[in-house]
Amino acid sequence: MAEADIVLHMTGVRKTFGPVVALSNMDLTVRAGRVHTILGENGAGKSTLMKILAGVQLPSAGEITLDGAPFYPVTPQEAAARGLAIVFQELSLCNNLSVAANILATREPTRMGFISDRKVTARARALVHELGLPIDVTAQVGDLSIAQRQLVEIAKGLSHDAKVVIFDEPTSSLSDNEAEILFGIIERLKAHGKAVIYISHRMEEIMRLSDDITVVRDGEYVDTVAREDTTIDALIAMMVGREMAEIYPPRIGDVPDTQATPALRVTGLTQTGAFEDISFEVRQGEILGFFGLIGSGRSEVMNALFGTSMARGTVEIDGEPVTIRSAAEAIEHGIGFVTENRKEQGLVLSHALRPNVSMAALPRFSVRGFVRSRAERREALSEVERLGIRTNSIETVTGTLSGGNQQKVVLAKWLATRPRILILDEPTRGVDVGAKFEIYRIIRQLASEGTAILMVSSELPEVLGLSDRVLIMSEGRVSQTAPRDTLTPERVMTFATGHVQ
């Protein structure tokens, strides 16, 4: 590889905040026409690295060059002007504006000093079309699903010409279909000679997309390897600093008897416009995987079960028909719901861990309306221990925890209700690999203790790795329910896309 290929070069880059070292001694060489993945657990220093490149923070030490010239951007505008484009993971869109206005934000085409809506729409439409994204640019961002918003984020990041394009966990909220669109875009960027920096937790896509992979751990550079010279296991070992025996822990005990009364039986559940005639059962100790592409209606079904939206059909718990009209009633019936977006529906980020853990089970922690703080504290401490939540204390504000630990707090909150039926909607989204494995272990443990588990996921390996049976949804209907061992990834995708021969 010629030196001339090198677009971005970093040596010995270091960033400290007071006594805290966020990044120490980072080396990175990014070449034109190649995809360079940066891999590391949350807290490993990836985001700090990105912020330095994006002009949000200045490095404390080290050298960075872009096209051979020193590169220390002071503002995001400067970084962009020098040829850096970033697609953010955290959604940075204005929900009250249109897609087009967001894509071209701060660079709106003007006519005599006034923003020309027509030009904005036209230019955004051209860009979205060129990228092959299925989005209507006149739609309000607030009306879009999380996945569609992420696509808008991609269009926004690519709306100006760049030499280096950074993707920060772009697929964490995308279904496989939409991820494919993104991979196509990345291939095209590569073909045009752009350098791509790619950050993701998803091993399968990393192995598929990357040319070079740099592993960081605890703020330190570990190694850079070529994709051909490594394996998923080797990467994980480098990333966590220890060997991972197995990604998906094996089931503990036997698969529950199919003759037993189901803990939950749903028959003909229908919500006009969202899903139709959904029927399934799940037994105590069983993990039923719910797979489907984004928009197939999975989350809507879960919301209907939990009483947060209305649907027709019958729901039976332990053979008894029940009507659930609110979350409170669902909780009373022993249903827990680990929601999809922990920041929006899961946690009160401004509050400490303790009140977050007890919030869905307040009746358990109160006598005659008064909070029993000792019982509450005991529960929070025992959940921290049981789930391995890494926090200094139960009074730590949840907003300051890492994504994986926040997700565990959401789990803790539902475990505190002692659920007999637990719904998990994308339980490992945006969570680092280490925490992912721990969450898998917890799910297994819960099942072995007799909890009936409904696990919604758009990560196929996860669904196939954990479920006893898998229900596949397509366009609001159940297209197949089958035991795990009769399914292959290809078969699942066939059912999910509705292309059944």
Binding site: G43, A327, V348, P363, V371, N392, T400, S402
Partner: protein, 324 residues
Amino acid sequence: MTETAHMTSNRQAYLRTMMRQYAGIVLSLVALCVFFSLTNDRFLSVANFTNIFQQVAVIAITAFGMTWVILLGEIDLSVGSIIAVAGMVGAQIIGLGWGFAPALMLTLAAGAAMGLFNGVMTAKLLLPSFIVTVATMSIFRGLVSLPTGGAPAMNMDPTWIAIGANSFLGVPIIIWVVLVLFVVNHVALAHTTFGRKTYLTGGNREAALYSGINVDAMKIRIFMISGLMAAISGILLSSRLYSAQTNAGMSYELDAIAAAVLGGTSLSGGVGTMVGTLIGALIIGVLNNGMNMLSVPYFYQLIVKGLVILIAVYLDVRSKQRQG
């Protein structure tokens, strides 16, 4: 998020943060007292502090109610008008000769009813509370004048007057009322599930909903609390004035909001305490009293009060950013 975020370490650090939060306003309060006692030798006396407490009672009680509302992420601008309606209801019932107890009960009920109206409008019709209470501020202010056509109504009921004039164990009854209501509100907020649900709902409405908290019921109840507290303030005020004035409580909603915010209650909801609100109300009371004693013209007082609020809130926001 940031990978290097300092964790707010342990419980001790959390307590230290809390103390630091109060330290700011307690220090402001002490500084004001020191300043006024240096400029006026009558300021630092038991008699004057009793006076301050009495003057601050109406604002403090209204602010307790307001604190609940703001904690929930809402606002109640109608409390000033509720104060006036409450005084008028009391005077009219007394005028009918029904006696003290029915008058008291009906006045409190009227306050709760007005709060109920605010709450139902906000929760069930999904209107922003700012708009709802701007409207009811006007509606209630208009209602006050219905019985008398705009004239004040005398209320010379001996028990009613005694609330504002008499003392118990050497301490004015008004101050007892403030202290009792402070304790009740504080305990309810800090130690009951209702208080906890208020914090959670204000912190993240959607997460509260998914955790089985009836968010609509919370809103309605909390607007009722605010209405009730305003009605109690109205009783105290009319008791001190021997009458119900149609312009009573005018712009008190701003003093109540200021007291809550000075005390560290966040307007975005979920953060705040009754202790803070009480201190905030005292700051406003000391400012009013001290400036009156210095014979500062009323319009200068307004300017100073506004500036103090700006500075206090700025310091509060900045200290939070630093911690964040």
